[in-house]
């Protein structure tokens, strides 16, 4: 069980790195607008422009 003396500090180092990363991301503004980003990953990408894909949509009646 003496490995604990090595493993526990390693776990702490990982924890410190994760906290550091998180703080960096927050300070970098990556979490400033969570509503928009949450919505954006679900939104469809831009539809191809007309020249690339002629639309088959029927015109107005």
């Amino acid at each position: 069980m003496d490995s604990l003396y090595l493993l526990v500090p390693i776990a702490l180092v990982f924890c410190a790195i994760t906290i550091k990363l998180l703080l960096w991301a927050i300070n970098n503004g990556q979490y400033d607008d969570m509503d928009k980003e949450a919505w954006r990953i679900l939104a469809d990408e831009e539809t191809p422009s007309e020249s690339e894909q002629p639309s088959s949509r029927p015109g107005p009646p």
Partner: protein
Amino acid sequence: MATSSLMISATASKIDANSQAATEACYHCGSPIPPGIELSLYIDGRERAMCCPGCRAVAQLICNKGLDQFYQQRTTYNEKPEEDHAGNVDDYRIYDDDEVLQTFSEVDTTGARVAYFLLGGISCAACTWLIERSLTRLPGVISANVNLQHSKLSVRYQPKHISVSEIFAEVNALGYRARPFQQRAQREQLAQDSRSELRRLGVAGLGMMQVGMFAIALHAGDIQGIESSHQGLLRWVSLLVASFVVIYASRPFFISAWRHLIRRTLVMDLPVSLAIGMAWLASIWATVTGSGQVYFDSVVMFTFFLLLGRFLERRARHLQDANWWQAQDALPDAVSVQREDSWVAIPRMQVNVGDRILVPAGATVPIDACVTAGESAVREDAFNGEYQPRTVVEGDTVFAGTINVENSLQARVVCTYRDSRLAELQRSVDRGQAQKPALARLADRVASWFIAAILLISIATWLVWHQLAPEQAFWIMLSVLVISCPCALALATPAALASAAGALRRNGIIIRSEDALESLSRSKHLIFDKTGTLTSAELVIDSVVTLDTFSEQQVLEIAAALQAHSRHPVSGAFNNLRMAKGMDQVSYHVGAGLQGELSGQTYRIGSESFCRTIALSLPYAPSTELYWVALCRVEKPLAWIGLRDRVRPEATSTVQQAMADGFCVELLTGDSSNNGALMAQELGLSHYACGLRPEQKMTHVETLQESGLVVTMVGDGLNDAPVLSLADVSFAVAGAADLASAQADFVLLRDDLNLICVAYKKARQCRRVMLQNISWALGYNICAIPLAAMGFVPPWLAAVGMSASSLLVVLNSLRLSRVSAETQWRPGHG
């Protein structure tokens, strides 16, 4: 998608389109389609009805850009664009001025310029997508980023390739209102606050996982035995992580508790700080001396859950935070000033006292000024809520924020913005905010006697055990303190509030203030503003009294043909009517009416005296209380046309519902005509007051508050902003002035007054859930404390019990997030 095309219904199919349109709301802004409007646009496979040319222009622009999937993605309707809205670059040239540009932009290291804008009219994430997409397509724009939470847009662009005025024009053409964002300091502060809150939450979460891991090992060790050296190690590392969390993440609790304590108020943060602080210190003691129990996991978990609850609640509230709308945002930024012999447009901030300015017809007066040439009428609803314009001639003073309706005016600036009447209004708003009475929150009231109780019990426990077994006394007292840790109690209110705010948001109501729901549930006095709130701000034709052989239809056609040449609010009632053909030589007489020629005959429409000058036999206006307009020909009175405010269709049902809910409903209006009294009668209101200035409204609300009432105010205009900021609870209706919305606790996104009742119902429900939560949390503590006092509760059981009770509170709160099917609202999915 790009094939969407404009189609105005052909005359032949009008009836069909009409009957369909009557039941339909505008696809773009959601307002009902006025009769007689036949506009539509082909979007997303169907003909979509539009309520006005403005909406259609915006929708068409969106479609032409191939961005019409926006309509499927959005979750709220768009704001109705302003009548004369146009993406005309020249209107924004003023912002290209270096001095002005400096105030809201900066140059970054690469030589690109970053400009900041405050956006009006953005309501959902899809709007941000639309704006970002269309801006990044402009040549010269490097990046565009909209922050939805703060209604803020930042654009990086190459000044060589594009000017800031083009960016303004683009955003405005899309139907949003962009303004330079100048209050940088305030914005930075807000961004900093929300970031530090998130940092604390993240640190507490990660710390909780670490300490939790060690705690499992320690608890397992308690049960199956553990070497004391290993136990020591695990305790020391837990101490390390937990101390970091307590010092870094729990700080706000300690600070808030201390601040309130020195002001002799007890808030929920005090028992929270006590629990965290005591358990942490005791655990440190136990670790250092190698005795007793450690509670590091409870400390950290408690911190995390509390931060999470508060974070979620604030997030639900802070959606669309727009507190920085100021009264002066209603003013135009460009002002035409006389320099030598010509008029030049200069930024408003460069206008000096004594300058001669030009106010075109239809424009907002930029600064308080004295008229030197021209005569016109100004709408002063910003100050008195009255939509009937005041006639001004040479020598009269016009005020910043009022709208020049008729003709262009030349005026001499008489004071700086700081001394203007509008600035005074802004000061009233600030004063109202400061004077708003603070309500003792439910959680804080519970907290005050809870603290007393646990402190007494802890001391009693220690005294008793000191007699029985002195060596255990300290540890048992500590376990009492830890078990009484008010985690569930502290979560009881934020969890319920967050959940209710989410549900209201889906109904189309945004909550902007912390205490709004609680105050609303206790409010029994509901005050409505009239113009724009109970009525839509326009006049409608109520009745026509013909005085000659002309039919009603003929009279209206002639009237409409004349009124088409006027900007006076009265003319709005005649829009969309069929007009008599061939009206010409129409001339406008300020404060009187209009005159025109039709097939060789001179017609006049307007005030009684104006018409009587050519038709002496004009009888007096009918005695019915309406706004009467006369129509006549030379020597031949034709008709009296009676106009009145258009009451919102749902106003009656809302008022009745509110009365049924036990509200005392009152009407306060700045309108000094007897329309207010009429409306009160019509709606069955016994309390009303007319002709009130904003300060008088404030005094009235203050008097009510002093008598102990919790006052709810519903309003819309600039003139309502001060009283909205003062009232305990305030609602801004859809389409309210930005300043009013910024002051309101609730903002209605939908044009429906019934939402007020929905909000009230939710507030009552929320209060019930909060009470349930609090009684459960207290009940749990009351049962557990005696057990702990008798020394029966091991720490792991205390931890489990605490988590379970918190979970129950959260689950109970989630019941509030249900939205009943009938009030659920999702536009744009037809």
